[in-house]
């Protein structure tokens, strides 16, 4: 594990830290995602709603506007047509009145005297007056008609003065003179007082009226003198089928166009189109709807704009519905209403953009309101977003610190514990419970377990140390005891180097450190050798102690010179008197008369001795047995005698020999022992013991030795050799 700033990378702390961090990040992430999604969808909804509202406003507003426009425009067009019609029909009526009056004059020419007429008088300029002009080369004085038609002077003057629309009214005679009323006398007289000539019969109105034979309205013509464009309504007057005069009224275009202009609103206007499809009146100063001189004007129906042509054709016949027509790349709403009197039509034109301007205004207002709302929303959303980011950052920071703290809190006691445990040395220190482990969770339990384990381990180690020391001490003492025990047995061979009449050899191999077997031999007097072999019940230290006591008691008793049976009885009595542990010992005790080879022996529960008479085989001597020593008080032992001829051997052993056991649990047995003995009948006592030992080892192999193995061999050599 690497350690960075006190945090173990890959450690428990980092893992817990990661876990908490991941969890909190997930929650924060979800929060951020939900916030973002919510805002996004809210924004989407707002935008969608806005655009839907916009569309709805456009739709509703436009259709409303169209409906309003249709209603108002058709209505106003009809009204305009009516008014225009009224205007022209007034003029028409005036001209018809003049025509009727003139016809009447000519009909009853005889009844009227010639009326005075005057040339234009600049002095009367500004005042309505009747004036006369004539064609060049025509003499008014010779005109037969001028005096007649001059009778219309008063009526024409009255007509002119009563109408604010008439520019002038006149009567022109077929012989090239004209009487007219207006207030612009000065216009007709040159600076040197000459009256300008006037080509009456070349005027368009004259020609048209003459040609039509009925009342006509001319196209737009320039006024002969003022040059102001105007329109003339004229009607021919016949007398006896002859054209005698043309009457008419002059309407300056301005007076109509003033009126028409007054209808013009922003983006909209009214124009009058004649039955020839030409624009007669229009406030437009350019474009297709501009009123031009008739010579230059274009028939709208031949403009190449089929929609416009169809509309104009219809408008000349009847009232039209609101129609959207594209003209010169611009869209216009138009309605038309015909002027019944003249076969003209009034067309109201409204620019679509202007018609929809309120919609546009409403939309732009809406957009601005909505835009500002959206801006506010966006600002708020932005603020909210920043807030979310800030909160998220704070949460992440808190999560970081929190995860660090929590994981630290969890891991700290564990780390502390690890340090403390690692610091424990030797058996004196123990793991102590500390407040840092009081976490009320598994760590506390773990710490308590450690503490208890540590104490137990320390106690155990102390105990083990103590036991080991004890064992060592005991081991040492046992080793010492073993040596003392062995030292107590005669173990220097040859034991009696100055006694050639016998040879004795003995060995004891204890199974444990100290054994319960013992052997002993000692000279009781010059010719009597005491031989003891014994086996204490049990093993180990108790057996060894008991054996020591037994050995000393045996020797002490034997040294008194009493018989073997008496020795055993005495020792049995001594041991039984104080044997609460109920231990006992088997003893074979014999006394060899070294002079005769006679052995007097008594057996207290010990193994049968093996005897080899000189030159013969070893055989077990099934002697009389008494009870083991220490079992019962007051036991009497029998003794017996056997005589060893020179060269004879007596072999004594403990049960460790026949009961030596191999790995399979089979005992060595006395048969094998005898076989081992008889295998080498001439062997010295030392060799005899070695032979038996070898045979045992060969038999048990690696199996553990359970019992002490103790052997004694005496060879009686005899005294005769001395002699």
């Amino acid at each position: 594990m690497k350690i960075i700033r006190g945090i173990k990378i890959g450690g428990l702390q980092q893992k817990i830290f990661n876990l908490i961090l991941i969890f909190i990040l997930a929650v924060v992430g979800a929060y951020a995602a939900v916030s973002y999604y919510q805002q996004k969808s809210l924004f989407g909804i707002a935008e969608e709603a806005s655009s839907e509202q916009q569309e709805a406003i456009t739709d509703v507003s436009q259709s409303t506007m169209q409906a309003v426009l249709e209603a108002s425009l058709t209505k106003s067009t009809a009204l305009q047509a009516y008014i225009a019609n009224d205007l022209f029909s007034d003029v028409r009526t005036d001209v018809l009145t003049l025509q009727a009056f003139a016809s009447e004059l000519y009909e009853h020419a005889d009844s009227f005297s010639a009326h005075d007429y005057y040339e234009p008088d600049p002095a009367k300029d500004g005042t309505a007056s009747v004036q006369m002009q004539h064609e060049e080369g025509v003499d008014p004085a010779s005109s037969g008609q001028l005096g007649l038609v001059a009778n219309m002077s008063e009526i024409m003057l009255a007509m002119f003065e009563s109408s604010d629309k008439l520019n002038s009214c006149f009567v022109a005679t077929a012989d090239g003179c004209i009487l007219f009323v207006d207030d612009r006398s000065a216009s007709y007289v040159s600076e040197d007082g000459e009256v300008y000539p006037f080509e009456v019969r070349e005027r368009p109105w004259y020609l048209q009226a003459e040609e039509a034979g009925e009342l006509i309205f001319t196209g737009i013509e320039l006024d002969a003198f003022t040059g102001i464009p105007g329109l003339v309504c004229a009607a021919p007057v016949y007398s006896n089928g002859e054209l005698v005069a043309v009457v008419g009224a002059d309407i300056f275009l301005t007076s109509v166009s003033d009126y028409v202009s007054s209808t013009a609103t922003e983006g909209g206007f009214v124009c009058v189109v004649g039955d020839d499809g030409k624009v007669l009146f229009s406030p437009q100063e350019s474009g297709i709807f501009k009123a031009e001189l008739s010579s230059e004007a274009q028939d709208l129906r031949e403009s190449g704009n089929e929609a416009l042509a169809a509309f104009v054709t219809q408008a000349l016949k009847e009232r039209t519905a609101l129609t959207l027509i594209e003209v010169d790349g611009n869209e216009y709403f138009m309605t038309g209403a015909p002027l019944g009197t003249l076969g003209w039509t009034v067309i109201s034109v409204v620019d679509k953009a202007v018609a929809y301007q309120p919609t546009q205004e409403m939309l732009s207002q809406y957009e601005s309101i909505n835009g500002s709302a959206m801006d506010t929303y966006r600002q708020n959303a932005g603020r909210s977003n920043r807030m979310v980011i800030v909160i998220t950052l704070i949460l992440v920071a808190l999560a970081f610190i929190g995860a660090l703290t929590v994981s630290g809190r969890i891991v700290k006691p564990v780390e502390h514990m690890t340090r403390k445990i690692n610091a424990i040395e030797g058996s004196s220190q123990v793991f102590e419970m500390e407040d840092i482990y009081r976490t009320d969770d598994e760590i506390e339990i773990l710490a308590e377990s450690f503490s208890s384990l540590s104490k137990r381990t320390r106690d155990y180690i102390t105990e083990i140390t103590r036991i080991t020391a004890e064992k060592e001490r005991i081991g040492t003492e046992l080793a010492l005891a073993t040596r003392i025990q062995l030292d107590m047995l005669p173990n220097i061979f040859p034991a009696f180097p100055d006694r050639p009449e016998f040879d004795i050899y003995a060995s004891m191999d204890p199974a444990k450190e100290v054994g319960g077997d013992f052997y002993d031999f000692f000279l009781i007097d010059e010719t009597h050798l005491g031989i003891v072999i014994a086996d204490v019940s049990g093993k180990g230290v108790p057996a060894a102690l008991f054996m020591m006591v037994s050995k000393i008691l045996m020797q002490n008793s034997a040294m008194t010179g009493v018989s073997p049976a008496q020795v055993l009885q005495t020792v049995n009595g001594q041991i039984c008197s104080n044997n609460r542990e109920e231990m006992f010992v088997t003893v074979w005790f014999g006394i060899l008369d070294t002079a005769t080879g006679t052995v007097t022996a008594a057996n207290a529960g010990h193994e049968y001795p093996a005897v080899q008479q000189s030159g013969g085989q070893f055989e077990l001597l099934r002697d009389k047995h008494g009870l083991v020593i220490g079992a019962m008080e007051g036991i009497r032992y029998n003794e017996y005698e056997l005589t060893l001829t020179p060269g004879s051997r007596l072999f004594l052993y403990t049960d460790g020999v026949p009961e030596a056991t191999d790995a399979q649990g089979n005992m060595f047995g006395t048969e094998r022992m005898l076989a081992a003995l008889n295998n080498d009948t001439g062997a010295s006592p030392e060799k005899v013991l070695k032979n038996v030992r070898d045979a045992i080892d060969d038999y048990v192999k690696d199996a553990e030795q359970f019992d002490d193995i103790t052997m004694v061999c005496v060879e009686y050599i005899g005294t005769d050799k001395k002699g």
Binding site: K539, E582, F584, T586, L627, A631, D655
Partner: protein, 99 residues
């Protein structure tokens, strides 16, 4: 490797031994006897399954015999030849009631 089976009938107790009665196993028998010998007037040691007896085993038998001498009687039954020889050699045949 000693199996001890006990059959109790009032003050009569039979302990059947199987295996080896040696230094290692003798304490088991000694403990068993100490625990169950109170109030027993007739103790029977069945050695039918016993293969071997060591001096430690003999000591336990001797203790039992001494106790039973005071409170009743003890007998040893089903003794095989090997063990009988040991009893003979050690003189225990003289103090045990072997049947």
């Amino acid at each position: 490797m000693l199996n001890i089976e006990k059959f109790s009938n009032g003050s009569e107790l039979t302990m059947a031994l199987t295996g080896r009665l040696d230094t290692t196993t003798s304490p088991d028998l000694e403990r068993d006897l100490r625990d169950s010998i109170d109030g027993i007037t007739e103790l029977t040691i069945d050695m039918g399954g016993l293969d071997y007896i060591s001096s430690a085993g003999l000591r336990v038998l001797l203790s039992a015999q001494k106790i039973m001498n005071k409170q009743g009687a003890m007998k040893v039954v089903n003794v095989n030849a090997v063990i009988m020889q040991i009893f003979n050699v050690t003189g225990f045949s003289q103090i045990l009631d072997i049947q």
